[in-house]
Assembly symmetry: C2
Homo-oligomer: 229 residues x 2
């Protein structure tokens, strides 16, 4: 069955820069291309928009179909639509940043049944299309947002020690923080609660676990108090 229009239309796709914080590094899932343009290069997961789904729905569906990953926090980056971005024909792609929590450790060292693999963001392979630029923009967005919104927590398990939170921020922002100042600043925001447990299996003194309290955050916003790192 064909679909016909009075004027030509570009294809609309979504792409996802899906990030995961693991072993002290930010990692990104990519898919190796098997076919013609950019054959063997690596590309962001993504695909065509269906007529009955929203952009967010589309990017989540494609991510699951291509990598098995579900349960991702997604946020739009922007649309990419230069004329020649795909040699096969005109496409406009809406890119999303996806953050997942390492609990569900779906596909870690590379589900080798699939052609999806995780790469450290500082060790990326050759990329297809304009995906290198998309990834740059995604990381820039992450850096900006993480300073003014509590999206860092999307990359951590529900319960986490402050050490991990600090390491995550250090990785994302590529700078180091003084431990005492970092802890004070984060705790003074008043959006973390001590869950009254400590980590298990630690080789040394066990750290207390905290969780992010979304209700306290909302209240904080209502009171016009800023989340500023």
């Amino acid at each position: 069955m064909k679909h016909t229009y009075d004027y030509p239309r570009p294809a609309v796709t979504t792409d996802c820069v899906a990030l995961r914080f693991s072993a002290g590094h930010l990692k990104l899932v990519l898919i190796q291309r098997a076919h013609k343009p950019f054959k063997n290069a690596w590309a962001l997961p993504g695909g065509f928009l269906d007529m009955d789904e929203d952009l967010k729905t589309c990017v989540c569906r494609e991510l699951e179909e291509e990598t098995g990953i579900t349960n991702v926090f997604v946020e739009q980056i922007k649309a990419y639509g230069t004329v020649d971005r795909d040699p096969r024909g005109r496409t406009v792609s809406v890119a999303f940043l996806g953050l997942m929590n390492p609990d569900d450790s779906q596909l870690d060292a590379g589900d080798d049944a699939s052609d999806a693999q995780w790469f450290r963001i500082d060790q990326l392979p050759k990329l297809a299309f304009d995906h290198g630029q998309v990834i740059k923009d995604a990381l820039a967005l992450l850096r900006t947002k993480v300073r003014s919104e509590p999206i860092g927590f999307e990359l951590l398990p529900k319960k986490f020690p402050l050490r991990d939170l600090q390491r995550l921020y250090e990785i994302i922002l590529d700078q180091s923080f003084d431990k005492r100042n970092f802890r004070r600043r984060i705790l003074d925001l008043g959006v973390l609660v001590d869950v009254g447990q400590v980590e298990k299996n630690s080789k040394h003194r066990a750290a207390k676990l905290y969780r992010f309290d979304r209700k306290k955050y909302k209240q904080m916003k209502k009171n016009e108090v800023a989340f500023k790192l």
Copy 2:
């Protein structure tokens, strides 16, 4: 001539939130709809993406065609693609923020040959489609960007008194600043130069004129000095 594809495709459009700073207010250009969906409501200028133009080219072209406005600084907001945003059929629209400088006072009190009109952003009429949300997002983007990048100057003439710059920031950010602190902060950034002239036609003591120096700004960025209001 018809255009046929194997799978259905949404139409791709661009929309522009074109702002102008005039008489102490931010104003936005809108077009009154003459036809069916949202008849008589007001809509953002915009239209269909041609196959041989980039998104930015498209939004500038549509803005010129519908309002006569040229020479606009544009920056992408994001793509809007909910399934039911246009009752006539599936469309994905990429929205842009457009900032223009009041020198070229093209179409001020409403070029009445056209159906385009300027509205104060705090006095908007009934809006078509999801354009109310788009405008909200545009203003939020403007507020964010204006704090960390020198885009405010896009809304002023080349030469301007510091008073006008302060008023602009106060309007955009919806807060007032102490005159002395504001002037110190802006001048200490080192990106403004005194052009050695004063305003004409002022009813009282004439203010000195300044201009934004893009070269100094670039150098400032290179030296990793931040532009922070």
